[in-house]
Amino acid sequence: MLRTIIILFLFFSFSSISFGDQETPTSEEFRKIFEKYKTERELPKNYKRAQENKFKKLLKDLRPFLIFVFIMIVLALSRSGKDKLKKEEEKIDDSSDSTLQKAIKRFKKKKENETNKDEEIEEDQKEIFDKSIKIKVEKEKIENFLSYVVKGKGDINIDNELLEKDNNMAKFSIYVFDITDSKNKIPLTSNSEGWHDKEYILSNSREMEINYDYGYWTWTPMFYFPELVVIPPYKGKRKLEFKIYATSLNTKFSKGAPVVKNKKTKTDETYLSISTKIEIQFDEPGYEEVKEFVDDVNERTVQLGLALADSDGHMDQREINIVKDWIDGQYHWSMFDYLLIDDEKSKDKQNKEKIKFSFILKNTYDQLRHNRLSMSEIIKDLNTKATRVQKYDAIQLLLNIAGSDEKLGIKEDQLLNKTARALNLDIEQFQKMKNIAIANIESIEHSEQINESVFNITESMSNAEKCKLLRKEYTRWNAQTNNANENIRTKAKKMVELAAELRKKYKC
């Protein structure tokens, strides 16, 4: 406040000064003025008036000097103000009890942050104006799938003349490479519909209209891959490179890179390429390992299937047929398997496989008859060599076998539950799969044991957990009591009763 008053006073005092016309006096001039004043003082005439005139004159003479003084005072005051504020801040820091002071502190901090943000935005804008597009990869959930989202920021600098032939359109394609071995860059492959190119290499692409100054101001998703489809060649710590190409619409790709065939006409051309690298921990077998273990996994799955078929004491022909169909399915699958595209199996090889599986069937049957089939060995092997997808495939086979004789027995059900847990599958998902099988099964063996087993209730569960699980199952089945399919409707009514009976038993 005081500072303001002084400033205002000084401002009005010197408001007539035209700073542009005056020059600041030198020290010599100052001395002369002062001496003149001193001399004149020694000769007083008409004292008062003379005094006034003298003062006026002095002021007039000192004006340039006073301006300098004024600036000095302002600077000094402003400095002392800052010091005072600093002291206040220090004081606030010390007195944490004061709500008001806290509020002041928060306000100042907010201001500071805003300033920083402004600076950041400025920095970002600067970056955008300065730099062309960059990409980064983040893990996010897209439509319930955990995915690698590739985001871009910056200008997409493509010469407009190049784009003209495609009506300002460009094709953006993305590929992923395993670069763990820096000397051997491997494009990832995929057989998932919609996530591969014609060579079954993991990719995605889209056409975009590129106008002048096109770009992303903020980090914007450009592509994504569900985590499920990004499978490196081997398990463990892997380095991946995500690479985006902008090309002409006609450009073809081979092994994850654009192929420019016609350099003269430039109908196919790469406009730009951008890449980013990430490191991931991949805990499942990679696709090279899948290739290596596929026979072992299939063999173990067949053994598991036969073990389930035999669990109730007799192997039904319908159950064996389900296993055989599954084996046939594997042949069929292999013929179109993207992994074997360069090495299509000959008929002879297929026949050899059939013989091999016949042997596995017979051998497993014998092992079962003589109680020599080790379930723990099967599970251990599957857990080491099978992917999650293969494990779910195996459990689906078991559910099909369990349902094939139109009756779910207690031993079958218990083995199903144990296997799902041992394979570390998501139990809720497994139960959903099992419910579909149950809905289509004619009857469920009647016993108190199976009532619990059918809902996957284990002894380790607390009463509260059992009650909650039963309520969820009841809700699920109650919703099916109006299913258009009469079989499902009937089964649903039965399951609803079972759930309520068990809740009664547990005194929920």
């Binding site: 998932s192 569900p226 809905a439 309520r471 009841y474 919703a479 009591t481 759930a499």
Partner: protein, 513 residues
């Protein structure tokens, strides 16, 4: 002037109510016995039909000609064969009635209790599937009643409670509606006669009829213990009638005796309340699970429910009240007649849906502050090809467009894409399910039609699917091919006119007594 009418078309009892001149709902009694609720029993004798309590007289004498619990069949594709005396899938029978036809006979009976019934609000269980709702519309059409709207039974009940001048209902309320054949639980927010339904859960096979069946089992157990022979529970309807009486007595007394005629002669059987309560524990457990589910889905604990309102005749059973008190931590409210709350609420809703010019000033004043917002009780979706997250393969799955508990009216648009290059049509399937389901087998496809697409196009062409639910729960679906603008609009309607006309003609020939 046509009356403002509400009808409760129940499993065991039905009722009709109108708004009186002061705007209060009033249950209209039957002309014959002046009772306010009418048995939903139908006795068929050629072209003559008796509906109501009189039909019950034939329950024991001519059981094959007596139709009961029709409401439980409303969503099924069955007919009642008088010759066989049961519901059957054989649609070609000549002496058969569809559930909608039987319901229309009950509606005709109720309609005759008063004059000028042309339009009405009809109540349905909260979890009534689309097919059952359509069957209700058909029944009304056959009875020459224009349906103003269908209203969910618990919603009607809370509306009645909220609109009563003498009853203070406020905050979050739970409506426990245990009737003769169905159970519904609804959680709603009530503020100054404004009702906002939050969620509903229900079981279509849980009600007083099941309790009666449990009592017959107790009778059989005791008879067998004495004579070592079973009672013919399937064919002898006398036991059901006696069980109903036992149930009513045990609601007020600790025990009762009943004379049972079995293959080895009559036997006096004593049944205690404790025995009866034990026999219905499984059913009470089901109601508890549905309450827990409703509370969880509305993110509430029992303590946050201010009042529990009882609706339906079966709530007179002391074990029901005890179980509810234990679960909710406080006893439920007994405000009005539990048999009449639903039909009265339907009449209030009919008043709300009637133009002001058709209401007198008092009626307008009484309804001025009453408001209702209901929710969608089902997941509505369509079938599409998606990637199975477990097997990583493309599978046909159900995808949700409108979620359950969405406030009505609602409209949601989702974009889908064609799969193949040169795809010339898409399958417009409308699915409905009570729970969240992606499995195709676990949803009901309530409509299926093809939408033609232009030829020679690339894959991944966008198709917008818009589902709209109006305030009364009617669904409209629109499938639009974005590029060509080709549209396929679906309004779910009752059976084909031809089929319905045939059924109407059959009902017209019947004389309802």
């Amino acid at each position: 002037m046509a009356k403002v009418i509400g009808i409760d078309l129940g499993t065991t009892f039905s009722a009709i109510a109108s708004l009186d001149d002061m705007g209060n709902p009033e249950v209209i009694p039957s002309i014959e016995d002046n009772r306010k609720i009418t048995s939903s029993t139908v006795y068929v004798d050629g072209k003559n039909v008796i509906v109501g309590d009189k039909a019950l007289d034939y329950f024991v004498k001519k059981p094959k000609q007596v139709i009961t619990e029709t409401k439980r069949q409303m969503e099924s594709d069955v007919v009642f064969s008088v010759a066989q005396g049961k519901w059957t899938k054989d649609q070609d029978l000549t002496d058969a009635f569809t559930p909608a036809q039987v319901s229309s006979l009950i509606l005709k009976k109720l309609k005759d209790y008063t004059s000028d019934v042309t339009r009405a609000v009809i109540t349905v269980p909260a979890m009534f599937a689309e097919s059952a709702r359509q069957a209700t519309f058909e029944a009304a059409k056959m009875a020459e009643i224009e349906v103003i709207e269908l209203i969910n039974e618990p919603t009607a009940a809370v509306l009645h409670y909220a609109s009563l001048p003498g009853v203070t209902v406020g905050g979050r309320v739970m409506i426990y509606d245990l009737g003769g054949g169905t159970f519904d639980v609804t959680i709603a927010e009530v503020k100054n006669k404004k009702v906002d339904v939050i969620t509903s859960r229900g079981d279509k096979y849980l009600g007083g009829k099941d309790f009666d069946a449990e009592i017959t089992k107790l009778m059989n157990k005791k008879y067998k213990a004495k004579h070592n022979v079973d009672l013919d529970l399937t064919n002898n309807k006398e036991y059901i009638k006696k069980a109903e009486d036992v149930k009513k007595i045990l609601s007020v007394k600790d025990k009762t005796s009943v004379q049972v005629n079995g293959p080895k002669g009559p036997l006096e059987i004593e049944i205690t309340r404790a025995e009866f309560e034990e026999s219905i524990q499984t059913y009470l457990e089901k109601t508890k699970m549905l309450i827990e589910e409703a509370l969880e889905s509305s993110h509430m604990k029992p303590s946050r429910i201010n009042q529990t309102l009882l609706v339906g005749g079966s709530t007179r059973i002391p074990a029901v009240v005890q179980s509810l008190t234990k679960l909710m931590g406080k006893p439920p409210v007994k405000g009005v007649n539990v048999d009449e709350a639903v039909v009265c609420g339907a009449a209030v809703y009919a008043g709300l849906k009637t133009e002001d010019k058709s209401l007198n000033k008092k009626q307008q004043e009484a309804l001025a502050q009453v408001e209702l917002t209901d929710v969608c009780n089902f997941y509505m979706g369509t079938l599409a090809l998606v990637t199975d997250p477990n097997t990583n393969r493309q599978i046909m799955a159900n995808t949700t467009i409108i979620k359950r508990d969405t406030k009505l009216p609602a409209s949601v648009t989702k974009r889908y894409y064609t799969i193949h290059e040169g795809q010339e049509e898409i399958d417009c399937s409308v699915t409905q399910s009570e729970g969240f389901e992606d499995n195709v087998e676990f949803v009901n496809v309530i409509h299926k039609e093809l939408l033609k697409l232009p030829k020679n196009r690339a894959a991944k062409q966008p198709v917008d699917i818009t589902y709209s639910y109006d305030a009364s729960g009617k669904i409209h679906c629109l499938f639009t091919d974005v590029e060509s603008g080709n549209k396929h609009e679906i309004e779910l309607k009752p059976h084909s006119t031809k089929e319905l006309d045939k059924q109407i003609k059959e009902v017209e020939k019947i004389i309802v007594e």
